[in-house]
Amino acid sequence: MSTAANIPPQFEIVDRPLDTQMTISMGPQHPSTHGVLRLELVLDGEMVIKATPDIGYLHTGMEKLFEYKKYQQGIVITDRMDYLNPLGNNLAYVMAAEKLLALEIPERAQTIRVLMCELQRIASHLVWLGTHALDIGAMTVFFYCFREREKILNIIEAASGGRLTPSYFRIGGLMMDLPSGFERRVNQFLEKFPKSLDEFHTLLSGNKIFQKRTQGVGRISAEDAIDWGLSGPCLRGSGVNLDIRRANPYSSYEQYDFEVPTEPDGDVWSRYMVRMREMRESHKIVQQALSRLKPGPVKADAPKVVLPDREAMKKHMDALIHHFLIVTEGFDVPAGEVYFPIEASKGELGVYMKSDGGPKPSRVHFRGPSFVNLSALPQMSEGEMVADIVAVIGSLDIVLGEIDR
């Protein structure tokens, strides 16, 4: 029992001889855990013997909220899940609902969806790169990445009105068409971006310190990676060539020409290289999407599901009635269940949506890639030094909003 006067009574002192092993809590408030993640580390000196993630500090009950909101109201909530890749979350939710409704999306809407999602992928990888490099010690890269990211956020804001929470997609198409001058903006960004990527490579890839801190650290083999359910760049960094955009294509991705980068080693360096190469591939896809843009409708032809144009609503009675009904009562989705996976920037983001025939879903479950990637952290980090844990967490690219939902 505590005999010192100042120690609060709920803490007792347990007298024990000095162990070599100690348990520390890399707590929820920590500069390098990329959010509110708590790791219980059992250390022997500097070496990690056991690492147990403790999550739930950002649990928001989003899955329960979906059941109380109509389908189109749920789109807003999906933004806040993986907040670095909100358009990806929107896309997964919206496409799952469209699969249930069996809607056909016009080509222009699909092209714009691909364009925005790939821009969002670049933005997400830029934050990953900035924070990962910052954790390892390279502070300049952080500021450079956020400078590039501001350009992308401006583009997304021009199209949808929101920098970080755009909610740009709707069930049946897009919120509205692209503004004028959009292509010029995107071209401006696309011209300068490869040079910035080369700058990052100069700063990081050739840097001996960065190489020494990342090569050979946090290894996971391909079989273990598949067993633990890793997906996305974490899986491709272990040599498995799997990309949902190629395996189960969606939203006209099969028409685009891009490579799927893989690296054989399975360590932090491989995952870093995979993501850097992915940024280049996304750049290619955006260029292709921009050249494919043709004028056309951006909303599906389903007046009971898709909001009519505002001009039509102001002039025609049936459009007004449809608008009113969709906004106040929602639309009935036929009963059924779907699982729709997309390739988000972190991995396989799957939406399991179950409907029982009403305007609100009966169950929506998001399979967050970061949730599953983090569960492999103990495998990757046991036997590493404490400082390497920071590198491993950075390379997993976790976002706590997606883990805790």
Binding site: P334, V338, Y339, E348
Partner: protein, 178 residues
């Protein structure tokens, strides 16, 4: 429950040993182990196989190593509450994916409210560990044989299972520090 559903046994539609499509694969699965398949549902381009709960671990092990299936990736394991009045009340969905063949299948286990026990599949795919903990946390489904079944998202001392339909949206009391 689902509209547009084709409940005829798929084995009557199969064509010999030449397995090309997912429905043929499921038909072959049904032929080999009919006691593991309660029924199948094909809708929206997806195949759902309803498996009785005592056989789920064996079915998963079989599907993982079966050359026609090769489902080495457990994409998702989630629970659902069908409704307070429904019988069976809970269901657990296993979404399987094959990294080599790129096909998907859903296995479903139906559970009653008073006996929500399911054998664990952590031995088949290690990724099921956290998914099952989450399903336990949010629904109260107990996975027999799980190495470490405790709450993962809600605080350790939380009462109740949050995603059940009879748990109110706003919880039972507002937050206060005391």
């Amino acid at each position: 429950m689902e509209s547009g559903v084709d409940n005829t046994p798929l084995s009557s539609q199969a064509e010999g040993n030449n397995i090309q499509t997912p429905s043929q694969m499921v038909a072959a699965f049904e032929r080999e182990h009919p006691e593991w398949v309660s029924s199948t549902v094909t809708a929206y381009g997806e195949i759902t196989v309803i498996v009785p709960r005592e056989h789920i671990a064996e079915a998963c092990t079989f599907l993982k190593t079966w050359p026609e299936g090769r489902f080495d990736f457990l994409a998702d394991l989630c629970g659902a509450d069908r409704g307070v009045e429904e019988e069976p009340r809970f269901e657990v969905n296993y979404h399987l994916f094959s990294t080599t063949k790129h096909h998907r299948i859903r296995l479903k286990v139906l559970l009653n409210e008073d006996d929500p026990h399911v054998p664990t599949v952590t031995g088949v795919w290690r990724t099921a560990n956290w998914h099952e903990r989450e399903t336990y946390d949010l629904f109260g489904v107990i996975f027999d044989g799980h190495p470490d079944l405790r709450r993962i998202l809600l605080p350790e001392d939380w009462q109740g299972h949050a995603l059940r339909k009879d748990f109110p949206l706003r919880g039972y009391e507002p937050y206060s520090l005391k």
